[in-house]
């Protein structure tokens, strides 16, 4: 039983357990990040972090919760790493390494745990985020590694969240760590000339993580919806660490504005509810306000990018008092701007929806027809589903029914399938 799991299991039973649980959520990534830098060994770092949290349960009960739990945990984990390294030490080189650990050697070395300087710590977490999301790692490994090392999810939890067998996920994590070590992926924040593209890569991982949880918002699967919370939490950390990057703020705004609607996307029976029909009074106002404020801050920097534009679309939806008040012309304009920057078929499909609402269903259908001609998204159920919805709005129910049928052949998610069936039934009265 690892420290991490123990903390998770016993959380909330008393004040100390609550404090350890809170520290786990807040400090895990930081402790691991620092230990990786100090030891250069990802597995040892995780092991020592877990051990520190397990010790915290006992020690904090006895001595009280320290003033700075993060510093206490980092120091405890580092001492443990020193012990382990000494025990493993064979020959002078290893002993020197252990001595280095003890001395906090060199520039960028670990900070003095009793000092109040936190600067080294934030750097460590940023290092860790960028290393986990390195483009030389396969995407699924980036996501898994981020959840494991930064968010402290256990391997079984991550496996469950991504619906793969535990052994597969364990193997994925082992391989990723091995590649970091053997292929020489540096543990650092990338230099200035690489930073823009690498930051985009990190944001992509966090967005993917969020969407993985968002798509699973069936309420029944809490671990998967937890992914949304983890993505928001990590995006917050990143926004604190990179406050001058408008796209980082844009991503956090986007996640908050989506997350605000999460509870209304399915009804009590687990059925999908479209944006049009969602109960707007149940949206999370605090998240909407925070998201909108962040977006304004980001846009004031005068460097718009894909995440800020998508957040602006989300803000158009969340700030409309009713579905009828939605400013579709604005949204269509934003998608046109997004398409200029990210000319993907999915963006074009979204623009078709917005144009269909802003101008006329026919105008939207024309754009959908263009997309179909290009042959892209041939297997994407939302293409015929969008066509079906636009046809439905023009009253061409026969054709709409046919398109719903095509979408049903491609759809994979059960809730979406039931939704399409309902629409199909509406098109075929009697």
């Amino acid at each position: 039983m690892s420290g991490a799991e123990e903390v998770e299991k016993d959380r909330g039973a008393d004040g100390v357990e609550e404090a350890v649980g809170a520290a786990f959520r807040e400090e895990w990534g930081q402790v691991v990040a620092t230990l990786i830098r100090v030891t250069g060994d990802w597995d040892l770092a995780e092991e020592c972090a877990q051990d520190a949290f397990a010790q915290a349960l006992d020690r904090w009960r006895r001595d009280g919760v320290p003033r700075r739990p993060g510093a206490w945990l980092t120091t405890t984990a580092r001492n443990r790493a020193m012990d382990v390294t000494r025990r493993r030490a064979v020959g002078a080189a290893k002993l020197r390494e252990a001595a280095m650990l003890a001395r906090d050697g060199g520039p960028g070395g670990p900070r003095d745990p009793d000092s109040d300087d936190d600067s080294g710590v934030t750097d460590d977490r940023l290092r860790l985020i960028f290393t986990c999301c390195h483009p030389a790692l396969p995407v699924e490994a980036r996501v898994a590694l981020t959840l494991r090392t930064l968010a402290g999810l256990t391997t079984p939890e991550i496996a469950h969240a991504f619906l793969v067998p535990e052994a597969t996920m364990a193997q994925r994590l082992v391989r990723a760590k091995r590649k970091i070590r053997h292929a020489g992926i540096p543990y650092r924040v990338p230099p200035a000339h690489l930073l823009p593209e690498r930051t985009t890569g990190v944001l992509g991982v966090l967005y993917l993580l969020f969407n993985e949880g968002y798509a699973a918002s069936s309420g029944a699967d809490l671990i998967r919806t937890d992914l949304c919370a983890e993505a928001v939490r990590l995006a917050r950390v990143l926004a604190r660490l990179m406050p001058d990057e408008p796209e980082v703020l844009g991503l956090l705004a986007l996640l908050l504005l989506h997350d605000a609607r999460r509870g209304t996307r399915v009804d009590a029976a687990g059925e999908l509810v479209t944006l049009e029909d969602q109960d707007r009074t149940a949206w999370d106002r605090a998240e909407i306000d925070e998201g909108a404020t962040l977006l304004e801050t980001a846009l004031r920097r005068g460097r718009p990018g894909p995440y800020q534009i998508q957040a602006a679309v989300a803000a158009c939806h969340t700030t409309a008092a009713t579905a009828q008040d939605t400013d579709w012309a604005d949204i269509a304009g934003l998608y046109a701007e997004l398409e200029r920057r990210v000319p993907s078929a999915v963006v074009r499909l979204n623009r078709a929806v917005a144009v269909g609402m802003a101008e006329s269903p026919e105008a939207g259908l024309a754009l959908v027809a263009d997309l179909e001609e290009s042959g892209e998204l041939a297997d994407y159920h939302l293409l015929p589903a969008t066509r079906a919805d636009l046809l439905r709005r023009t009253g061409r129910l026969e054709e709409a029914a046919e398109s719903y049928g095509q979408a049903l052949e491609l759809v994979e998610n059960d809730a979406e399938r039931r939704f399409l069936y309902r629409r199909l039934a509406e098109c075929r009265p009697g």
Partner: protein, 113 residues
């Protein structure tokens, strides 16, 4: 760290001789860059895959086949042994290689040390 960069070119791509490469501005600018950095520790330009012979042994019989060990869309046209700080530097170097720019690819593989 030391890496080998496998320079891979499309099977139906152009076959430049070492002399042609020496006169090709795409290659000369790359080679100048690499020389200036002193990153390349060795390497070789290889004859085309058509000149390859693949050797296998089954029991006590030596089996030879004409051509490379695997049919693929690309073949290894050469390799460079480089010494750089980390994978980011190796990737930066590989991404400047004319093969990577011209429809081929460069596989970066750490040397087992």
């Amino acid at each position: 760290m030391k890496y080998v960069m496998f320079i891979c070119t499309p099977v139906d791509g152009e076959e430049l001789s070492p002399e042609e490469i020496a006169d090709d501005p795409r290659f000369t600018s790359y080679i100048d860059h690499v020389r200036a950095g002193g990153m390349v520790k060795g390497g070789a330009r290889l004859r085309p895959a058509a000149d390859a012979t693949t050797v296998r042994v089954q029991g006590d019989e030596v089996l030879l086949s004409d051509g490379p060990f695997a049919e693929s869309k690309e073949y290894i046209a050469g390799f460079d042994i480089i010494e750089v700080a980390d994978l980011d530097e190796a990737i930066a170097l590989a991404s400047r290689h004319p093969a990577a720019l011209g429809g081929g690819s460069v596989e970066v593989r750490p040397i087992w040390e």
